[in-house]
Every structure is written in structure tokens, then in C-alpha cells.
Symmetry: C2
Subunit: 425 residues, 2 copies
């Protein structure tokens, strides 16, 4: 009766036997819980207020919010990183999350001209260019097309971008927090383009946003017709304003800036537009001064989210290490863990759903004796691609880029349990 | 490259060809979108403020919230239904949602003594009774056990309970909104019970909450050891206060009151406790005055969420009907739709993930000519069980119960597009 369908399809699966092997069987019980009849624990012997008095009623929170005890689990920006808060980024608190779904209120936000507050009644999606019938849709019109529901990660091309020249930001939220993963509901873009009727010369599309930055990118038609969605919902409810309310393009596995928010127009053409955002921005500057362009796919990547600088180790003995892995090319096949800076590797356990172009959650159970550790995770995706070291990336790409850094992250655990962002070579 | 793994495994899958057959091909384009060169649309020709000025920056919403244009999409209670707001229910706005994930802020809440605001540092989970080693765990202790991630629906036994005696509440939010579906992260209960060591006489457990109601229920050990979780996260972040922060029991497929919130103690015994909540409450009173007890599993059920009374029809021509289906016994195998009160049935398309004991999302595309409709959905689960009519349920169970009403719901669409809760026989 247990849910094999929801289980992992890869990696080691911890069994009771592994658990015992790891030394936390009977002895571990006392390490994990506390046997009775030690000294009295007032948290048990005293009646707490919440056990004594009525709590808040159903009028209190028509739209619910987290506990006040979770007030530190919020998106955060890094002031020196960007010139303004409007053209800026607010990072996902990866260190405090689990599973593969990111709650909407904590999905990182990146925008070039602040959050457009669009009135959906005044919003339109126009399809023009190399089509038989240029069309304009209201948001309601789009809800008359067949819909699909898909869970995808979205990663900014600049995620981990500050780490090209060395370990810099001391927190997984800041080094890796430009990624989130939600369930989208939307209309396949192919359906909409079919309604307009593509001319035979059509080869590219250019989605454009309704914000003050008028964000736009060239997307090859093959991708547009394959798996792109025009989404209006995330995790069941309307898109959040900072995620493009009321409409955003979903471009599975590809860099986040192409997932145009506040989507108001899609032009169809026969060649790329070479917009600002794909010439001076979102290109990867190489050592020799030339740029890699149209580097759309996000390569396989992983990071240990806890322990990490904002989630230090607090117990000796048995511990659970966890993190996320993802690949723009498909699923994650396995994640390996080292605690000694790469000398020894062990497979992590991937738990829960394994879906293409979605976050995967991994765990690794281990015993800590209080000695310093050098922790790394390394992902392999379903195409066989192995996540590289930062030095391997630098050998090919130099130090000038800020984009597409999917190198292996190292966390140094000190003997006091604190965790630091470091590099080893 | 498209995501077969995330697709449906049952029901009809609408193809472009179906779409054309339904009469919304080229002609439908003009019905769905609007061809250019009709009169000018100021929503396109005028530059909107959000296109002209910078929006809010990253300091604005450390924890994000929905657009102000979605202010009506909230949980709602029904004042006359309960004596107080503390012992009450706040319903999920199903009519406005899509996909299978319910966002945390909109998950229905039902409590008997209001929302306990528990300090996690002062919270403990005690395991006592027929165990070798009674144990006490802090919340941190539990995070040292191996974790699992699972997506499950949770339905209150009283969902649709007001409809036993006839159509009563005019809104899908109120007739069916005591259900939600999220991804839980937690520890298998079996792991925790194994640490305490079950005595051979152990047959039942009694989870107990830390709220002022001290909610408790008897759960057979077989279920406890099969797939129950002690959860601390929902949709990636900490449980919400109204969902049991910091710990709740997850009892997949079984009625919601057994998913004890603010979980503070699990007693192990050799027979059920016959607590208040399983004798005077949460039993199904039959016509002859006897009660069905321990009716734990939630049988297969479905409902059309849009159109519905709070989501009227606004277009003639092509329309998308959508809804949710679920079963405590496994997966949903198919959902059939009738628009004429049961004379003709057509298969709906189940889209997205099909997971055991999780919500399933279905769609049915159809053309509306403006005549009145009598819409129903009927689910069949993976055990072969067919969702019954309300009259079939009443023939067996009478009219005295308020629990376990999984009968087929009828919505009457008037020629003006309004939708009413009705019954037909």
C-alpha cells in the first residue's frame, strides 16, 4: 500500500539496516530522542498556553501566513550586488526549505525595472509577425484553450555568478538561491501559435514583457513548439506579481530571463532579434574577449542546502544532510556526496518525485564526530552529464563571465559546527 | 523532449485534432482571440503605467503575497454552520484554483479550539505506552531521522456534509472546499516507533494534539507502520500554524481529523481508546439510530470546480470545464463528465501527475450554445470503485449522517451562464 509511485527511482534508499549500520539503532535512540525518567522536562510537565486557551478563529487569516517563529525564512537581497532594489534580485531561502516544491511566497524574484503591478482586465497577449492571422488575447481568452500542469525548476543564468572568481557569498541562499520549482498551469504555446497560423518562413519567436524594462529574448521556434507554456497559475493559484502576473512564458530547462514575465506580445520572425538582453547581457564573456551567446540550457547542478552557512550543524552523532539537484536536460540520475573534499564519494538518496527539468531532493545520513568536514555534492543527469568542478569550468571559460556557473560547491564545517563557503583545489 | 513523465496516464488526451473536431479551429481562433484591425484596443494602443514606471523593488515583499486583483481568492467560513469561529472551518477556494497543488495560504483549516500558536523550541513529541523505551523528541531530534517527501490530499470527513439532505450551499468552495493537497516532508512514523521498540501486544496508536482541544484518535498499528508520516514541512516550508506547526501526523487517504495537528504525543496500546472524537463525533449515524464507526478511508470523489456557482460561464462557444478527483484507496483511473444530467457521459482528460492518494486534475473541453446545462463529474479509482450518486448513498446510509458524502455533485448552468447547486433524480 505504500506509495512506490511517489518514491525515488535512483540512488540509494536508506533502509532500517543502513540506519543500524550507521550506528544509530538502539544507542542512537537515546541520541535522537531522550529516554524517559531522566530529569523532568518542563516542556512536557508544564501545561503550555496553547494547550490551555482557545487559539485564533477562522476570521483571522483569510489568506494564511507562516508562523511568527519562521520570520527569518524570507527572501533576501544583497545590497552591494546591484545598483538599485528595482533592478535586483531577492534570493530563495534554500537553506530552510525541503522537498521539491518552492512555496510561492519564497520563490526568488529577479527583475530589471521592479515588479509590474498589472491589472489583468487591461492586459493583452498579442501574436504578430510571420503568422497568417495576427491575434490579440485577453487573459480570459487564454483560459479557453486546453491547459497543462507541469512542475519545473526556474534558474537565473546568473545563479552562483559571484562565485566565478572564488568563494564569496556566505550562504546557500545567496550562492544558489536564484532557483525555484513550482507547478505551472498554462496553455501550450504551440496551441496559441497554431491558432495564429505560422508562416513557413517562421523560425524564431520574441516574447516581450509589459514591465517598464520591456524584457525580450529570441527563442528558437523548435523550443517554442516543443514544451513552452503560457502560464497563468503557479502552485494552483494565480501567478504572483513578481513572477509575471497575470501571464508568464515557461521555457522548461532554459535560463530564467527567457521566461518572460508580464507577457504581452510574441513576435514571430525568421531570425533572432539580437536584443540588448542577448548581446550586452546574458552572454558569457570568455578570457579572449569573445562571448558565448544563446547559452540557453541550464546544465546539471546541485548544492547541499543543509548544513550550509545559514544552517550550521548542531548535533554530533547522527545527522541528515540534504540538498537539491536539477538539470535543464532532463532528470537527475544520481547525486554523490563527499565529506572529505573529494577523497571519498557516497551516493545520496534521491527522495520523492523525479521529474524532467524539476528540482530533485537528496539526502545523505551520516555520523559526525566533531571533526572539520569539506562537504560537496555532485550531480549526474539523465544525459550522463557530470557536474564539473569550478576549476574545470574556469579552465574552459576563464574568469570573466558571471553566467552559467554550475560548478561543485564546497562547504567547510568547522569543529564548532559552523559552515563556511570555501574552495579547495 | 516533451515531458511524458509528467503527463496523464488515463482518460482522453485532447489533440489538435480533437480541438478542430470541437469546432474551434480557424473559426475558433476568432472566437478565442480577436483578429487584428478591428477597432483599436486601448489596452494595446495606450502605454500602461506598469509599462512606464519602475515597479516595487526587492525590499517590498520578503515574503510574497498574491496580487491585489486576486483579493477575492481567500479561505471563507460560513457563519451559521458553526457555533464559533474557533471551532470552525475555513474553506479552500477550489473554484479559483487549478493543478493539483494547493498553495499553503489557501489550504482549508478546521479546528476544534482555534489555531494553537506553538513555540517549536518548547514543543515535544512523546512516545509512550506499549513500547520498550518511552521516548521524548524535540523537533530538531526528528530532523535527524531519514525524511520522505510525498504529495497527498487531505479531506475532512464532513466535506460535503451539508448536502446529505439536499443541495444547500451555493459554491464549490463551501460544498467541497474541505480538501487540499500539498507536498509533505516528514519522517515515516515507523522509524520513530522502531526507535521506541514496539511490544508484541501493540495493536493501536493514539496520536494527540497540543491544542486546547487535545484532539486524539485511535489509529490501527498496521496503518501507522505502512505510510504515516510525522511531517514538519508542507510545500517546502514549515507547516503553517493552522496545519499543525511544528508537527502533524499524515495519514494518507484517511479522514482529516486523524491527521492530528500540533502532534505532541503518540500512545501505543492494544485496543482502540474510543475517544470522544470517534464515539460522539466522526461516526456516521444511520437511519436506524446505529452508527458506523472507524470509517477511516475517504472514498473516491470528484467535483467540477469551474464552472461552479462562484465561477459562472462567461463565454458561449468553446469552453474549458475543470475539476478535481481523489481517492483514499489509490489513484484516479478515470473521470467522466455529463452536461445533460446523466444521459450522455464523455471521458475527461486527466492532466499532470497521477499519484496515489493525491488530487487529480481533470479537464473537459466543450462548446456551449447558451442552453441550460446539468453538469456532473463521476470518478472511478484504481480499485475499480465508481463514485455513487447521492441517492445511491442515501439508500444505504439514510439522511442522519454528516460524514463521508462522496456523492456526485450537480451544477445547473442557466442560459445566462449562472451556476446553481441543484439535485436531480
Amino acid at each position: 500500500m505504500s506509495d512506490k509511485r511517489q518514491g525515488t527511482n535512483s540512488g540509494q534508499r536508506a533502509s532500517r539496516r543502513d540506519f543500524l549500520k550507521a550506528g544509530i539503532g538502539l544507542g542512537g535512540a537515546v541520541a535522537a530522542g531522550k529516554a524517559f525518567a531522566a530529569e523532568a522536562d518542563p516542556a512536557i510537565t508544564e501545561v503550555q498556553d496553547w494547550n490551555r486557551y482557545l487559539g485564533a478563529g477562522t476570521d483571522a487569516t483569510p489568506y494564511g501566513m507562516p508562523s511568527e517563529h519562521e520570520a527569518e525564512v524570507v527572501r533576501r537581497n544583497v545590497r552591494w550586488l546591484t545598483a538599485s532594489t528595482e533592478s535586483s534580485v531577492n534570493f530563495t531561502p534554500l537553506h530552510a526549505l525541503d522537498g521539491i516544491i518552492t512555496p510561492n511566497g519564497l520563490c526568488f524574484e529577479r527583475h530589471h525595472a521592479g515588479v509590474a503591478e498589472v491589472d489583468p482586465a487591461q492586459h493583452r497577449l498579442m501574436i504578430n509577425g510571420l503568422v497568417e492571422r495576427p491575434l490579440v488575447f485577453t487573459v480570459d481568452d487564454l483560459k479557453r484553450f486546453p491547459r497543462e500542469n507541469r512542475i519545473y525548476f526556474l534558474e537565473c543564468a546568473a545563479n552562483s555568478g559571484m562565485e566565478w572568481r572564488g568563494a564569496q557569498l556566505n550562504g546557500c541562499q545567496f550562492t544558489h538561491g536564484m532557483v525555484h520549482c513550482v507547478q505551472y498551469t498554462g496553455v501550450p504555446l504551440k496551441r496559441i501559435l497554431d491558432e495564429a497560423g505560422l508562416k513557413t518562413s517562421a523560425k524564431w519567436i520574441m516574447p516581450e514583457g509589459a514591465d517598464a524594462a520591456g524584457m525580450n529574448r529570441s527563442v528558437p521556434l523548435e523550443k517554442a513548439l516543443d514544451d513552452c507554456l503560457v502560464a497563468f497559475k503557479m502552485n494552483g493559484e494565480a501567478l504572483r506579481p513578481e513572477q509575471g502576473y497575470p501571464l508568464r512564458l515557461v521555457v522548461p530547462g532554459w535560463e530564467g530571463n527567457m521566461w518572460v514575465k508580464w507577457l504581452r506580445r510574441i513576435e514571430v520572425g525568421d531570425m533572432p532579434w539580437h536584443t540588448r538582453e542577448e548581446t550586452s547581457k546574458y552572454t558569457d564573456l570568455m578570457d579572449d574577449g569573445r562571448s558565448r551567446r544563446f547559452t540557453w540550457v541550464m546544465d546539471a547542478k546541485s548544492v547541499i542546502t543543509s548544513p550550509s552557512p545559514q544552517a550550521p550543524m548542531i548535533h554530533k552523532g547522527h545527522n541528515v544532510l540534504t540538498g537539491v539537484a536539477w538539470s535543464g536536460r532532463g532528470m537527475i540520475q544520481k547525486v554523490d556526496i563527499t565529506l572529505d573534499g573529494g577523497k571519498n564519494w557516497q551516493p545520496a538518496r534521491i527522495d520523492g518525485l523525479s521529474l524532467p527539468r524539476a528540482l530533485h531532493r537528496f539526502y545523505y545520513e551520516f555520523t559526525w564526530n566533531g571533526e572539520p568536514l569539506l562537504m560537496q555534492s555532485r550531480a549526474v543527469d539523465s544525459s550522463g552529464y557530470v557536474q564539473p568542478t569550478k576549476d574545470e569550468l574556469r579552465a574552459v571559460r576563464g574568469l570573466n563571465s558571471i553566467y552559467h556557473n554550475n560548478g561543485i560547491q564546497t562547504w567547510h564545517v568547522t569543529n564548532s559546527g559552523e559552515v563556511e563557503n570555501v574552495e579547495i583545489s
